[in-house]
């Protein structure tokens, strides 16, 4: 019974881990932390988004989605444009 429970838990953990996504966008114009909060605020309003991280050193915006959810490149680009910046590249990690 314990073995079964552990297997089930492991399975659940594995599926959810496999379904959350990390999206890394390279952004131009990302220099001022005060203005860059607009990126964080814009993405946090998205229901699919779990976490957002902005790094001014690398000019990267890292977005983690919730389990089983994703955001397409077009939406990422338009959200960052709405916040006032330009996307140069998007990478994805499962």
């Amino acid at each position: 019974m314990r073995k079964l429970l552990m297997t089930a838990m492991l399975l659940i953990a594995m599926t959810s881990a496999a379904q959350a996504e990390t999206i890394i966008a390279s952004v131009n114009g990302l220099v001022c932390a005060f203005c860059a909060t607009s990126i964080e605020k814009t993405f946090k309003k998205q229901p699919a988004v779990d976490q957002v991280k902005v790094d001014l050193d690398t000019k990267l915006v890292t977005i983690s989605t919730k389990d089983g959810q994703t955001i397409d490149d077009k939406t990422i680009t338009s959200l960052i444009t709405d916040a006032g910046y330009s996307v140069t590249n998007i990478k994805r990690q499962k």
Binding site: G29, V31, A33, F34, L56, D57, G84
Partner: protein, 212 residues
């Protein structure tokens, strides 16, 4: 007569007031409250960003200095005219235009204002130039300029407290002290910004901005 009408139209179209210490447009759906107190008076503005290129808001300014204690209030439209997003910096040109009414010595007149703000910033430096025009019918009108240059003593990342040491130079020919220099320090952390300085005509300056 036609030239006069044209000049009047130009003044009305170009007529300012917002001494924007930050970008007058934030992000779509964002609200920005800006409050400034300096040798030119006290300003309050609330702006809501509708699209990446437009923000609508409310502007109020209590002028200070000499005999001018005029109060101006009215709606304002902020426009992003041009933006350059570069790997190491961002440059912008904004326009801020409003119409409303001004009150001085118990008299109220229609007024109009407009301004152009150009800025360029990297993580290390900040520069801006602003031209402002204000016209309150038969009561007051002025053209003013403001330039700023600043440097960050250390490179702060997104979650750090950011600091800029700045020098602001104001040119207002309509006032007693035409040129005023204000050294100031700017701090910001995430969505809160504050700056404090002391001007060459011995006035304290304090500005703050909050973004929602």
């Amino acid at each position: 007569m036609r030239i006069y009408a044209l000049a009047l139209l130009l003044i009305t179209l170009l007529a300012v007031a917002e001494e924007a210490v930050a970008k007058p447009i934030s992000y779509v759906g964002g609200t920005m409250v800006m409050q400034e107190n300096d040798e030119t008076g006290n300003t309050l503005s609330v702006d809501y960003t509708v699209t990446p290129n437009y923000a609508v808001g409310f502007f109020a300014k209590q002028e200070e200095g000499g005999s001018k204690n005029m109060l101006t209030v009215g709606p304002q439209l902020n426009t992003l005219v041009k933006r350059w997003n570069l790997p190491v910096g961002q440059g912008n040109i904004f326009n801020m235009t409003g119409i409303g009414e001004s009150t001085l010595d118990g008299k109220t007149r229609p007024s109009a204002w407009t301004g152009m703000l150009a800025d360029y910033e990297t993580r290390r430096i900040f520069t801006s130039y602003e031209l402002r025009l204000m016209d309150a019918q038969n009561m007051d009108s002025y053209v003013r300029q403001r330039a700023r240059a600043g440097v960050a003593p250390y490179l702060a990342n997104y979650d750090d407290l950011n600091t800029f040491l700045m020098l602001q130079v104001d040119d207002h020919p309509d006032k007693d002290h035409t040129i005023v220099v204000t050294p100031l320090v700017r701090f910001f952390y995430h969505t809160a910004l504050a700056e404090a300085g002391y001007s060459s005509d011995h006035q304290a300056m304090f500005n703050w901005i909050l973004q929602f």
